[in-house]
């Protein structure tokens, strides 16, 4: 009897059964997969209504972990560079000089200059901070119209690209402003799928407009170039040096055209590797993007060949290339070159150069000129003056004068000094001149114009050098020099607040205020209301007129509702950015600063959600903020709007 042997499983089944099951499982899994595309299709077919169904979730308490900070990159402005952001710029040893004060210059090495009263010769103290006059808002139901944007806005091919979100996600909601961004104030954005954890973004490469190195950066450029310059015998302040600032380590090239039409051969600008290293450290450690100076000194003979009266005009084109991109800028600048002569007083002739607008500690942009000269200490006693060298004092007086020339200002006390203040550095040096060691006093000063003056202010910059001793009551004038000047232009801002909601109770008011970020009041507060009776409140709207340089960090518009009982309820505070750039239609890169921006209108329907409000009368306030920005078209090439226009230095009779 035999036992039947079990039948062997065919090889085909051993292989085929798992294969078939694998195929079946895979097919089922395919249809059960996470398919975003199918969801996209279904959502794309929906209307644009948002899925705002989940409400009432409490605000996270651990904000730093749940809602980390992520600053936006700073605004681009190629014309105004914060001195504090410039790596290596030393501002130590600066003497602050109040308006209408003179500077008592030391005549011995190691001495220090002091500000003094020009009449009594007694030391003066710095005055209280500058405070602009407070404007009165214009009450009106209709804010001023916004001008049409000029044609110099960003060309299509240079428009900053709109940031995109994850490409795999189709938007469920798209704001209507996306269809025509030019009709809306603000900027587009895409909701991320996760918190950005890569730190603040690096601002795009920006190169400043070129400036002459003598405009306060001579020492810094000297350290960058380390003495490797075409004419090392020139002092740093008298070299024809060109400087720019970049916000990323870069390689830079300079080309240009002289005023006589001759082309400037392409040359490379120099940066200091130590500055690059410090930039990297500041970014890595502190996420602070500082500015690096790049300099190049041109051969004196080359510059002199294109100069007249010691001044050479150059239209400079700078190209910068960094690890992240490329940037270029064009600017007009003036180079001073030494003039041959036999001046018994000045070792270096007085030069007055543009410093554009300088941001001081009070947050205001001051139109600034830089003055530089060096005099021979042994040349300050005029023959026959009888001044006693032992008790001799030399005084520098300077002024930005309107309504008179320098003779009128210095001799006849005419005109009005519109200087706000100034800051000086004074250095006493030993130099070998014509084979003889002589003491030279080198004076550098930044002189600030009253910033509340309208853009394009015109007048004279005057400098008087005088000497006296303990026995002489009347000072002896050594030199009276000056030049015609025209300050940089600035944009005008008309910031309007309009109460737009008709359902706002008549017995309620809306208070609008305008200040700078430092709390300086730009305009008095205005009361708005829907009250039909004149005098019960004000108009529906109010406009504050001011200028960009008074509030470069922004105009803070505070809006407060005031109920029938007089209880103030803060509604909203808007710090409106101020664009200090100017409108130059012939500037091919002007769109970077968008100086031709005419403003915008932004409605806000702001809920009154303060816990203090429990009366249920008013749920929200509808206000309209309108910014009308005016920067009449200037000219970049012949009459640069963002710089001073400075005439030739002239000697005035005294």
């Amino acid at each position: 009897m035999s036992r039947s042997r079990p039948r062997r499983i065919p090889v085909a089944i051993i292989i085929g059964a798992p294969a078939v099951m694998l195929l079946v499982g895979g097919t089922v899994g395919w249809f059960m997969r996470d398919d975003a595309s199918s969801e996209r299709v279904s959502k794309a077919t929906r209307s644009n209504s948002p899925i705002a169904t989940v409400v009432g979730a409490p605000l996270p308490t651990a904000l730093d972990s749940m809602v980390p900070q992520r600053p936006l990159p700073p605004a681009a402005n190629p014309a105004v560079i914060d001195p504090a952001s410039i790596i290596g710029l030393d501002t130590a040893g600066v003497i602050e000089v109040p308006a209408a004060a003179a500077l008592d210059l030391p005549l011995a090495p190691g001495g220090s200059a002091t500000p003094v009263d020009p009449v009594t010769r007694e030391a003066v103290q710095p005055t209280s901070p500058y405070a602009p006059s407070i404007g009165e808002p214009i009450l009106s139901d209709t804010p001023p119209e916004i001008a049409s944007p000029p044609s110099t806005l960003a060309p299509k091919d240079r428009t900053v690209p709109v940031a995109s979100g994850p490409e795999v996600v189709e938007p469920n909601f798209t704001d209507a402003c996306m269809a025509d961004p030019s009709t809306c104030a603000g900027a587009p954005g895409v909701v991320r799928d996760a918190l950005a954890t890569d730190g603040p973004p690096l601002a795009a490469l920006q190169v400043s407009v070129p400036v002459a190195g003598a405009e306060g950066f001579a020492g810094l450029c000297d350290s960058v170039e380390a003495g490797v310059v075409p004419d090392p015998f020139l002092t740093p302040s008298t070299r024809p040096t060109i400087a720019v600032f970049v916000n990323q380590p870069s390689t830079l090239a300079l080309t240009g055209t002289w005023a006589d039409g001759t082309a400037l051969a392409k040359t490379t600008m120099i940066t200091l590797s130590a500055h690059d290293a410090e930039w990297k450290r500041a970014w890595d450690d502190d996420h602070v993007q500082r500015n690096i100076i790049a300099c190049v000194t041109l051969p004196l003979d080359d510059v002199r060949a294109h100069a007249g009266g010691g001044i050479a005009e150059l239209r400079a084109d700078v190209v910068a290339i960094s690890a992240t991109g490329r940037a270029d800028v064009t600017g007009q600048l003036t180079l001073n070159v030494p003039i041959d002569g036999n001046d018994t007083l000045f070792a270096e002739r007085i030069t007055i150069t543009n410093r554009g607008e300088q941001l001081l500690a009070d947050g205001i942009l001051y139109p600034t000129v830089h003055v530089h000269y060096a005099f021979l200490d042994d040349g300050v006693i005029p023959a026959g003056s009888g001044l006693d060298p032992a008790t001799l004092h030399v005084y520098d007086e300077h002024a930005l004068v309107e309504g008179a020339d320098c003779s009128g200002w210095a001799v006849n006390q005419q005109g009005r000094d519109r200087t706000s203040s100034s800051s000086y550095t004074v250095v006493s040096e030993q130099r070998t001149i014509a084979g003889r060691s002589r003491t030279v006093t080198v004076v550098d000063g930044d002189v600030y114009l009253d910033p509340s003056l309208p853009g394009g202010w015109q007048g004279y910059f005057c400098m008087r050098l005088s000497a006296t001793d303990d026995e002489t009551t009347k000072a002896v004038t050594l030199a009276l020099r000056g030049a015609t000047v025209r300050s940089p232009r600035t944009a005008n801002y008309a910031v309007s607040v309009l109460l737009a909601g008709a359902d706002y109770p008549d017995d309620w008011q809306l208070r609008a205020s305008w200040t700078t970020t430092k709390g300086v009041v730009l305009c008095s507060s205005a009361l708005l209301s829907n009250a039909p009776v004149a005098g019960a409140g004000g108009a529906h709207g109010a406009t504050c007129d001011t200028i960009a340089r008074l509030a470069p960090a922004g105009i803070v518009v505070g809006i407060t509702a005031i109920d029938a009982a007089g209880v103030p309820l803060p509604v909203v505070s808007v710090r409106q950015p101020v664009n200090t750039a100017y409108c130059n239609p012939d500037d091919p890169f002007g769109f970077v600063g968008d100086g031709c921006n005419p403003g915008f209108t932004q409605p806000y329907d702001v809920p009154l959600t303060s816990p203090a409000i429990d009366n249920g009368d008013v749920e929200s306030v509808r206000v309209v903020l309108q910014v009308s920005r005016t920067a009449a078209a200037g000219a970049m090439w012949q009459d640069p709007s963002h710089v001073w226009k400075i005439g030739a230095i002239t000697a005035f009779a005294y």
């Binding site: 499982g25 899994g29 975003a36 605000l59 936006l72 954005g189 950005a196 200040t515 329907d605």
Partner: protein
């Protein structure tokens, strides 16, 4: 290969293969990557303590920024009501905007809350990362007796009992009694600027008056506004009999909390005849 065990093994292997196929197809067949699911982001009307969300947007949504609050919040047009601002974390919005493109927006409730924040920041050292940004400017509200439930606001009001600093400056240290003779005639008017400084706005100038002593007794003169915070002073008569006499300019100003401060400066009132000018 034969026997019951072999058959069972074959079944098990087949089911394992099916499972592997299902998993693989799910895992690799889908085009969604981890983290790109349509995550919801809460929107707030005002990101202050106790706020609750009022809606949501989702990853990939194209929103329109109308402002920011500090470096922490983006303010967008609310999808439900485009004119109504809505807040969401700035770190959850990809944008090419710079700080110059967007206003700093602080809603009413956050204004009140930020009052405390501002006080804190004045006593602490900000980190270098945040040092480059500005705190929102807080406009404190004026005195109120019925806002006791707004603790932060009323705290601000209660603590501001300091009068504003009033500074009076002149464009010259002296002026002449009105004169028709040069050069005194060009200096018989004084321009006076008054600055009222205080963190609690609105600030206002309340009064400005000039006082001096003359042979006829104490004298006063009012000043004429010439624009903004500037006033002009002229003295037509009743100056010193000879030489000069001190003239005191006294100004008062008030802050938003109703505190009143006073400032003074002294200049010289000159008799033109004593300074080479015909009376």
């Amino acid at each position: 290969m034969s026997g019951l065990g072999a058959r069972v093994a074959l079944v098990v292997v087949s089911f394992v293969a099916a499972g592997a196929g299902w998993f693989g197809a799910r895992q690799f067949g889908g085009d969604a990557t981890p983290g790109t699911a349509l995550a919801a982001v809460d929107l707030y009307h005002c990101p202050a303590d106790g706020s609750r969300s009022v809606g949501q947007v989702h990853a990939g949504d194209e929103v329109w920024l109308i402002g920011v609050t500090d470096d922490r919040w983006a303010v967008i047009r609310n999808p439900d009501n485009p004119d109504r601002p809505a807040w969401l974390p700035l770190a959850l919005v990809a944008t090419a905007a710079s700080a110059g493109d967007l206003p700093q927006l602080t809603c009413g409730q956050a204004v009140a809350t930020a009052t405390t924040t501002l006080t804190v920041t004045t006593t602490t050292t900000p980190t270098s990362a945040s040092a480059s940004t500005s705190s929102p400017v807080v406009l404190a509200t004026s005195t109120s007796t019925s806002s006791t439930s707004t603790s932060t606001t009323s705290t601000t009001i209660a603590t501001d009992t300091v009068p504003p600093t009033v500074t009076v400056t002149t464009d010259r240290a002296y002026l002449y009694v009105r004169s028709e003779s040069a050069p005194c005639s060009s200096e018989d008017s004084l321009e006076v600027a008054i600055v009222v400084a205080d963190p609690t706005v609105p600030l206002s100038i309340r009064s400005i008056v000039a006082t001096w002593n003359a042979p006829g007794g104490p004298q006063t003169a009012n000043l004429v506004p010439v624009g903004g915070n500037r006033f002009s002073l002229e003295v037509a008569a009743n100056g010193p009999a000879a030489g000069e006499t001190p003239l005191t300019l006294t100004a008062t100003g008030s802050d938003g909390a109703g505190n009143v401060g006073t400032g003074q400066t002294v200049v010289s009132l000159r008799n033109p005849g004593s300074f080479g000018c015909a009376g």
